[in-house]
Amino acid sequence: MAARTDPESPGVVARHRPHRIIAVGGGKGGIGKSLVSANLGVALATRGQRVLLVDADLGGANLHTCLGVAQPTATLSDFMLRPKARLEDVIVPTGVANLSLIAGALDVLDAANIKYAQKQRLLRSLQTQSVDYLIIDLGAGSSFNTLDFFIIADHGVLVLLPEPTSVENAYRFIKAAFYRRLQQVESQYGIERLVEKALSTREGAARTPHQIIQHVRQQNAALAERLEKELAAFRVKLVLNQARSDGDLNVGAAVVSAWKKFFGLEMDDLGAIRYDDEAWRAVRKRRPIVLEKPESPAAMGIQRIADRLLALDGVTE
């Protein structure tokens, strides 16, 4: 998702940026975002990639638990509360080679409502980490604080369960993320009002990218062309979690198809993770599935997703 062009981050820092930022969201709670983040991190780390996991679930952090890391000594809140602190100061090891962690803000009750300036500082700091992959585990909901982490990512990963509730939240989430992304560029295209409506009203939200581009085209065709290119870069990666039947395995492809037909944008289906009792027992043991039960269908599903991501990025092992 092409949001590297943060005006506030000077070009000099570019060298130190993580090669790729992956943000894992999904709108709904309890759909396995943390599990996907943790295991994807492990899977990438075991392939030799340097990975930093960030628990940005500002309201209900528990990524450390998924990894079996004891109560972390430093957390994100240490960074946020101390203006002088550097992000590097709150990174803790995970026991897995190449994989480190920034644990969530456990103790700041209102961390979910961090101030704009704090958020910008965090975003900037995240973007300057020099690792191969920075994986941001997002919280539930579609608040701006969540969306803003999602749209700075190169790979916005949307976790989905084959259930109506999850699908509903997922669509709401990506539409909100899309319009939030649009908001960053709205002034260039004179579409502030459209975006405002889309973000605040139901009818507005029903408007599709195509219609917005049509609107811009009426004024300026060249501009519309540019906007279209920009919007086409909003390409969410889909992960279907807890597939219980063979039919469930097709839900990802169906969502990709439907998103294209009704919203007009492309999406990539990264793959599905099988529902698997054995593997879920690993969670209970606070161990990443890919390490605890590498042969389980769920672990293999995650490995395939990691492979696909690396392939998308052109990384060869």
Binding site: R172, I213, E228, A232, A258
Partner: protein, 468 residues
């Protein structure tokens, strides 16, 4: 730009998410998938699209499928949207279309042959070929050898097998199948539906054979048989008039049209079968007829068919001798010269394209044979039968498939399957869904999806009229 099209702006190919080079089978698969994805209770569209949008999309999808699965309409559509195809690709598409049509024909053919009546029908064609009964015995034998799958079927099957055999060769088994007699008769039947579906023009070839048959021999058996077989298959296809009417009558007009390359090309592909079938038939049973037929086939060859034929004949020749020595010789001689005569480059190009297509089709044929074998157990389905729920149920039962199993495999709720089978038209889902369901069911039962859905939807429509 094309990047952000919604379905309203998508081409038929984009709608179905297939390449412009997609085969009919791929298109039908894609259609089935799409109908599942965009069914009203599909989770993937929950809160993304409202019911009216979904309905509109499904209608577009159905329209897309119908156009892209009728080759002539597809070509016309391609022209409209600016898709251009190389002659090779066109030839391939034609070959595929013909093949599918032939499969459809075989699907129905065995059905015809299943019951008692079929047997007689099957027997009749055989007679002309050999004039000797032994042939009949020969068939079963070949069948068993060739088709291990037959074992799967029950004892009854064996008895019913003959008709099936007949049909199989028609499809693409020919090279494999040594059973010439059988093959010869059926092809005629098989070819016709093909022709009808593919294009009006193609009708000529199919028509010709019957002609040859009728005039030549005093034997009432073969002539009528062939004629009757043909019509039956045609019925589903398109022209109701031709079948019943004397084939002879239809021939003359057909001869005239001998249109351009279009119809011919397809012929060339499938044709292999057609020709074989056509030529042999005359040779075997009807000697006077022999002259007439070769002529007919020659004419066709003259235009395009030649290239593919020679090899085929070559193959054939050896095969036939094994089974029956007498027949093989004549046909090759008759056809080969023709083939060689035409050395035009375009023709050759097409021929090679067709050859490629055919080899690809050979792969598919395994699958097709599979479904055909399953058909052996089929109930007696008259070829002009309307596929009502009752018939679908009997076909299902003949396949030892329980209703829940069928529902599970097609992912259609068993309530719907039950209502479909019970012909409860008034409580069936809306036609857009129903059509997709019928196609899924038909495919699972090894029937022709398009034929079944059209037939059933016709019944539903007439039922609605009555209700009003």
């Amino acid at each position: 730009m094309s990047a952000m099209k919604h379905f309203e702006q998508q081409s038929y190919y984009e709608l179905l998410e297939v390449a412009v080079t997609a085969s009919e089978d791929q298109i039908l698969d894609a259609y089935a998938r799409a109908m599942e994805t965009y069914s009203p209770d599909s989770i993937a569209v929950y809160t993304l699209a409202d019911p009216e949008q979904l309905e509109a999309l499904r209608e577009r999808l159905t329209q897309a499928m119908e156009v892209l699965c009728a080759l002539e309409r597809r070509i016309e559509y391609d022209r409209k949207i600016g898709v251009t195809r190389s002659p090779e690709e066109l030839a391939r598409l034609r070959a595929e279309s013909l093949k599918r049509a032939a499969e459809t024909a075989t699907d129905t053919a065995p059905a015809n042959g299943a019951g008692e009546a079929p047997v007689t029908q099957a027997a009749a064609p055989a007679e002309p070929v050999a004039e000797v009964k032994p042939e009949v015995q020969a068939r079963p034998a070949t069948e068993e050898e060739e088709l291990p799958e037959a074992e799967v079927v029950s004892g009854e099957v064996v008895a019913e097998a003959e008709p099936v055999v007949a049909s199989e060769p028609v499809a693409e088994v020919e090279p494999v199948a040594a059973s010439e007699p059988v093959a010869e008769v059926e092809p005629v039947a098989a070819s016709e539906p093909v022709a009808a579906e593919a294009k009006p023009t193609i009708q000529n070839p199919p028509a010709e054979p019957p002609v040859a048959v009728t005039p030549p021999e005093p034997k009432p058996g073969p002539g009528p048989v062939a004629a009757s077989a043909v019509p039956e298959d045609e019925v589903p296809a398109a022209d109701p008039s031709e079948p019943t009417a004397a084939p002879a009558a239809s021939t003359p007009p057909s001869a005239g049209p001998t249109p351009a390359a279009l119809p011919l090309v397809p012929l060339a592909a499938k044709p292999g079968h057609l020709h074989r079938s056509l030529t042999p038939a005359p040779i075997s049973g009807l000697k006077p007829a022999i002259h007439a037929r070769p002529m007919a086939s020659t004419a066709r060859h003259g235009s395009t068919v030649p290239p593919p034929l020679p090899p085929r004949n070559g193959l054939r020749a050896p095969v036939r001798p094994e089974a029956e020595s007498a027949r093989p010789a004549p046909p090759p001689s008759a056809t080969r010269p023709n083939g060689q005569q035409l050395g035009e480059a375009p023709v050759l190009a097409e021929a090679s394209a067709i050859a490629n297509a055919e080899s690809a089709l050979a792969l598919v044929s395994a699958k097709a044979r599979d479904s055909r074998t399953r058909l052996k157990t089929v109930v007696d389905i008259p070829s002009d039968a309307e596929f009502n729920g009752e018939l679908l149920r009997r076909v299902r039962e003949s396949r030892n498939l329980s209703l829940p199993m069928l529902a599970d495999r097609t992912r259609i709720s068993s309530r719907h399957v039950e209502n479909i089978e019970a012909d409860r038209y008034d409580i069936l889902p809306a036609s857009v869904y129903l059509r997709g369901m019928l196609m899924s069911i038909a495919r699972e039962l090894g029937l022709d999806p398009l034929r079944v859905s059209k037939s059933y939807m016709g019944l539903v429509a007439s039922g609605e009229k009555k209700a009003r």
